[in-house]
């Protein structure tokens, strides 16, 4: 009888412990954020562009997503959930290119689908991209690896730039 009381206590403690330790947390994003990567068209290699800034067209207070100080190979381009399309601009800050007319613009049209991911990651939209357009001042091309944007943290947009060859710096478009 005594041993049963001990086992009972052990089971109760174990059960309460497992209740409190059951959540593993959200291992993905809590929003569906498209992740874009930068590449050199000439080599196909990933690059970290310098002297550029990126922002959303119509963003409050012209807030930038990529500032001059931050050099990144990948960048999240959050879609506006209240709108069926979102546009982003890329401004080049090099001396010869520092004009708004030479900005590149990237636009996405999409359908936003409500989605409940999990208790930890919460509810969000999944975005099904129906069309995307871009200008080609310094951008050579843009590609998408998947038209469905979810909260899974993976690169779905690839932006290829025309870059100068380090061996032939004059060979810049």
């Amino acid at each position: 009888m005594k041993s049963l009381v001990y086992i009972s206590g052990l089971l109760a403690a174990g059960a309460l412990l497992t209740q409190s330790c059951s959540n593993v947390g959200c291992t993905e994003n809590q929003n569906s954020l498209p992740l874009a990567g930068f590449y050199a068209m000439s080599t196909g290699q990933a690059i970290v562009p310098d002297s550029i800034t990126i922002g959303g067209v119509g963003a409050p207070s012209d807030t930038l997503l990529l500032t001059l100080d931050s050099r990144q190979q990948q960048l999240y381009l959050p879609f506006r959930s209240t709108s069926p399309s979102t546009s982003f601009y890329i401004h080049y800050c090099q001396k010869a290119l520092d004009y708004p007319e030479l900005n590149d613009t990237l636009s996405f049209d999409y359908d936003a689908v409500p989605y409940f991911a999990s208790e930890d990651c919460g509810a969000m939209y999944h975005y099904r991209v129906t069309r995307y357009t871009y200008t080609t001042h310094l951008i050579d091309s843009v590609g998408m690896t998947d038209s469905l944007i979810t909260n899974i943290d993976r690169e779905t947009i690839r932006i290829f730039f025309r870059t100068a060859d380090p061996d032939n710096p004059d060979d810049n478009d």
Binding site: L11, T18, F116, Y125
Partner: protein, 313 residues
Amino acid sequence: MTMTDLQAKTTAPGLRRLLKMLLLTLFVIAGTELSAQRRVTPVKTPEPGTTPKTERPRRIDRSKLVEMTDASGNTILVDTITGTEVKDTALMAPPPKMIYPLLHEVTAGVNLWNPIMRAFGQSYGLGDVWAELSLHNRYFPYFAIGVDNCNDTPDESNFTFRTPVSPYFKIGASYNFFYNSNPDYKLQMGLRYGFTSYKWSVENVTVDEGYWDDPSHFSIMNQRSTSGYLEVTFGLKVKVFKNWSLGWNIIYHSLIHDTKSSYGEPMFIPGFGTRGSAVTGNFSLMYTLPINKKKTSEVNTVTEGDTQTELHD
């Protein structure tokens, strides 16, 4: 030598005889080889005038045996010279494999786990009633019917998850490790299958990417799902008062089928709990109704009078 010469030679009668002898010799050699493979285990014979080291079991002289009964009621044979006691196994009743009858008890219980956990802040779950039949106090077929609901807005979340009161069913069986012991105490392991069909909604969702400063709102309403899950239980039951008992269970559970929805997966499943949890519990108050109180050993006991009657017959 050409082929023609060889044929001429083999057809010669002298050579035929030679071949026959050669074959015979080969048979004899083969037979010798076979006999050479036979193994012989060497046995060391004891030297004359010595006793072997291995002790043989002593023989009991049956003429010197006296029949007696020990404290347990077993018939024993006592050698009056050496004092050796031997149990008369022929007169001993074989121990029954299961001492409790096939239809032993019926137990009905109320699972109080969710009401208790709700008192500690849980936002889902109601409860279930269940019944199980004791077969030999060893096997326990089990059936449960219950209802659950959910109305939960987790901390730091952007939604409210709702499931209206929905039924669920469980069927399975348990095994009692103490099957030949006092049935007031049981240590059981069980396997159950749970099934439920229910509706779910995700309401008051706010989506804010944090950049556009333009949050949007939506709700996913009245999605219908059907889920099935498997439970492995381990627990015990203790009698507390007359026919009333209390029981604990730790349950490991896993979803085995679930309706897919383009709007996501429900976070709460009736009878299962939250989707992310692998382990849960069960705490039951139960009432046991005896069907057959007699032990199998009591039923099988043969009285002395009966034996004599059989002998006379």
